[in-house]
């Protein structure tokens, strides 16, 4: 009898715990994906969308370019915009859309 009562009392608490854990997991995932987008977009655009000194180490290693990489155009966009913004944007959209189907549901009303 006592056990049954305890279960009834604890159920909402359990659901709240579950909701809290899911929320924490989502926030950590968001921070990770935000960081990935930050590094990809700003990193690529800085290396390939800005001009750099021809003698700079990054240019000599082939990571950066002396003159911004405009040609060849891709889908009508400058090359650096395509790889530095359009491709990560599409990737992020695809990931977000996929996540929207995979994330768990929790009851909100008690």
């Amino acid at each position: 009898m006592t056990g049954a009562v305890a279960t009834t009392v604890d159920e909402p608490r359990e659901r709240q715990k579950q909701l809290y854990r899911h929320a924490c997991w989502e926030s950590r995932l968001t921070v990770f994906l935000w960081l990935a987008a930050f590094v990809w977009t700003l990193g690529y655009c800085w290396l390939r969308g800005y001009d750099h000194d021809a003698d700079a180490l990054l240019v000599r290693w082939g990571w950066a370019v002396a003159n911004a990489e405009v040609f060849p155009l891709r889908l009508g966009m400058p090359n650096w915009i395509f790889w530095g913004i359009f491709v990560p944007w599409m990737t992020a959209t695809l990931l977000t859309a996929t996540l929207s189907f995979l994330l768990p549901d929790d009851p909100l009303r008690e």
Partner: protein, 670 residues
């Protein structure tokens, strides 16, 4: 001539108003849209009779479904700046704006996933109706609630004035009133090589139009100036090493006399403002949260359809380019033309060093972190019905932002290829760059003015949805946080209703009066309030929701740190701007009266003190676009310092004090 004859004149003798050629169809499309908005407002009012009034009026009783949540969050985030300022920036600076706006790729995640599920949970545990409610209940601290409300009330009215101005400007474009039947009184060339045309309007007011020089070298030919009363324009001429250039200047707009306004108020703007204010204040005050969110759905759809149609038309409208490697068409032709015009238009940092990497980084933080931290967005996250609605809204928002922002980027890159110089910062221009959006709409829909009306409704919808959300945020702060909870008095339900309707309407009317004489610097006000509110609330809200070690002192310091970390750089920016202009005007007046004894002319003491004692501040003395712009410490936007101060304040305050174990147990179920 045929065009002149086709002009449909609808003259009101006393007001001297004539509508433009295609205004009829444009206004009809606009009227249909406004009718839809009004109908939704009236329909929403019925919902207010269901349950507890404040929960319904300010929060929709936590019943938002996926579509309403998604379009409401999206439409609130997209404001007048998105449809007026952003296009002007793309047109002026080219493809680098792709980098400027790039962080919108993660905004759906930072908006819905970073805070969504948890703020909804905490909001329900606390039975919170507003964002200050969340802070107040989570830490049992009225001080936190009042401070959060005060900061909202400090920032949002600034933003609302700017949004009202944008609303008036869009409606003015839809009306397209003919210029006044004025008389040219005279002309002169100023010290800054501007041609100043002096007019007398038909109601007797005297106004001047300043025409900037058309290039760095050359001079005006005032003797060649010709007046064309039939078309209500003046032809002026400029000579430089390439020969003579003509420019057509329209007569001034019709202005109405008003007490307190020496130059009167422009009729088209005032009419536009009245229509805008009456609609948006009316449906927000009458229908509350449900009216705001349902009209957001209509407005969000209008925006989406508008920009997608425009993007298709714009790509088709770019003339093809034949090169050695083949023929470019569509967007490729536009990019090629931009590169030929100025290679900086196709690369970073853009013309005039527009986006150095420090600012690129600042703007990445700005859009991805400041948007979700706006109180109007957080309130929507507190009000979704279930997590299924949240997931579906996440899907819809990510498609929505992708379509809208990439379309805008394409449209206005094409606009620069179609009008290479016409709207570039006034030089040889037909208009300032902010008018590129309506100009592009008119160009693309010349054969279908009704479509132009529908497309013009898109920026209007963006402004309306933002204004409605902010109006409700302000009135909820006043009614719920300050009157109901802070004064500690029992307020009858009837009085609460009257207060809620009345406060929303009153705030709208006050902002309308402010917008009669609005500031020039629209975009900077929007950035100031957005980053100010974002830095004030982001870190404190994350601490409140996720950190069980957070204390009320820590959250208080985080709120203050975020607020001050942004505000001081704007304050120093204004101070520097005013000191600079005071010293410059002293220098000009001193040079003009050299014969007078020098002892009678001293520069203003405060300006000298400011320049001597504050010049060590980082960013001081750098060239500034506008006197409303802040100082940029070490090249970064003030939001970076705001976030750093907020984090440090939060950590320091929380580590130095202890959290209340009962509150931790209540809000952290595990």
């Amino acid at each position: 001539m045929a065009r002149t004859q086709a002009v449909r004149r609808k003259q009101e003798d006393s007001m001297n108003l004539e509508l433009g050629p295609d205004s009829g169809q444009v206004l009809l499309a606009f009227a249909l849209y406004l009718l839809g908005v009004a109908a939704l407002g009236i329909f929403s009012h019925r919902y207010l009779k269901r349950g507890e009034f404040l929960q319904e009026y300010f929060l929709g009783n936590r019943e938002l479904g996926a579509w309403v949540l998604a379009l409401s969050v999206a439409a609130t985030a997209i404001s007048g700046g998105t449809f007026m300022g952003f296009p002007a920036l793309i047109y002026t600076h080219g493809w680098v704006l792709g980098l400027w706006i790039a962080s919108y790729m993660v905004v759906p995640m930072t908006t819905m996933l970073l805070l969504g599920r948890r703020i909804n949970q905490v909001g329900r545990i606390a039975a919170a109706v507003t964002v200050p409610d969340v802070f107040r209940d989570r830490f049992q601290s009225p001080v936190l609630g009042v401070l959060a409300s005060a900061i909202i009330l400090l920032f949002l009215p600034f933003n609302l004035v700017a949004q009202f101005k944008a609303g008036g400007l869009v409606m003015r474009e839809a009306l397209q009133l003919r210029p006044d039947a004025a008389v040219l009184l005279g002309q002169q060339v100023s010290d800054t090589n501007e041609l100043v045309l002096q007019f007398r309007l038909s109601n007797g007011l005297e106004v001047s139009q300043r025409v900037p020089p058309m290039s760095n070298v050359g001079y005006w030919l005032p003797a060649r100036t010709a007046v064309d009363p039939q078309s209500r324009c003046v032809r002026v001429y400029w000579r430089d090493e390439h020969g003579e250039h003509e420019r057509v200047i329209s007569y001034p707009a019709v202005r109405w006399r008003f007490p307190g306004f020496r130059q009167g108020i422009e009729a088209g703007y005032l009419l536009g403002l009245v229509i805008f204010a009456a609609t948006v204040i009316g449906y927000t005050a009458y229908g509350g949260f449900w009216a705001v969110t349902w009209t957001d759905v209509l407005e969000g759809l209008v925006m989406l359809v508008g920009v997608v149609i425009m993007a298709v038309l714009a790509v088709q409208a770019v003339p093809a380019v034949a090169t050695e490697v083949g023929t470019y068409t569509g967007l490729a032709a536009a990019t090629w033309r931009l590169h030929a015009l100025d290679p900086q238009l196709t690369q970073a940092p853009g013309p005039g060093q527009f986006l150095p990497w420090t600012l690129a980084l600042s703007f990445f933080l700005m859009w991805s972190l400041m948007g979700p931290a706006q109180p109007s967005t957080m309130v929507r996250l507190m009000s979704f019905r279930d997590t299924l609605s949240m997931r579906r809204a996440l899907f819809l928002i990510c498609l929505y932002f992708t379509l809208v922002y990439l379309s805008l980027l394409v449209i206005f890159t094409c606009a620069r290829a179609i009008f290479p110089t016409e709207y570039v910062n006034r030089i040889g221009s037909r208009g300032p760059p902010d008018s590129i959006m309506p100009a592009m709409i008119r160009h693309l829909t010349a054969a279908r003015p009704w479509l132009g009306g529908l497309l013009l409704a898109a920026p209007y919808a963006a402004i309306m949805s933002t204004v409605a959300a902010y109006l409700l945020t302000i009135s909820s702060s006043l009614v719920r946080d300050l009157v109901q909870r802070s004064l500690g008095r029992e307020v009858s339900p009837r009085l609460l209703r009257i207060l809620s309707y009345g406060t929303t309407a009153l705030v709208g009317v006050i902002v309308f009066l402010g917008a009669l004489n609005p500031p020039e610097f629209l975009q900077y006000i929007i950035v100031f309030t957005g980053s100010g509110l974002g830095c004030t609330f982001l870190v404190p809200m994350l601490m409140t929701l996720y950190w069980r070690r957070a204390t009320k002192v820590g959250v208080l310091l985080a709120l203050l740190g975020g607020f001050l970390g942004v505000f001081v750089w704007y304050a120093f920016g204004w101070l520097e701007g005013h000191a600079q202009s005071a010293l410059e005007s002293f220098a000009a007046s001193h040079a003009a009266s050299e014969a007078v004894e020098s002892s009678a002319h001293r520069p203003p003491a405060w300006a000298v003190w400011v320049q001597q004692n504050l010049s060590w501040l980082p960013g001081w003395g750098r060239p500034r676009v506008d006197r409303f712009t802040p100082l940029y410490p070490f090249g970064f936007d003030p939001l970076v310092s705001g976030l750093i101060c907020s984090v440090l304040g939060g950590l320091l305050g929380s580590w130095c004090t202890r959290p209340d174990p009962n509150l931790v147990k209540k809000y952290f179920p595990d």
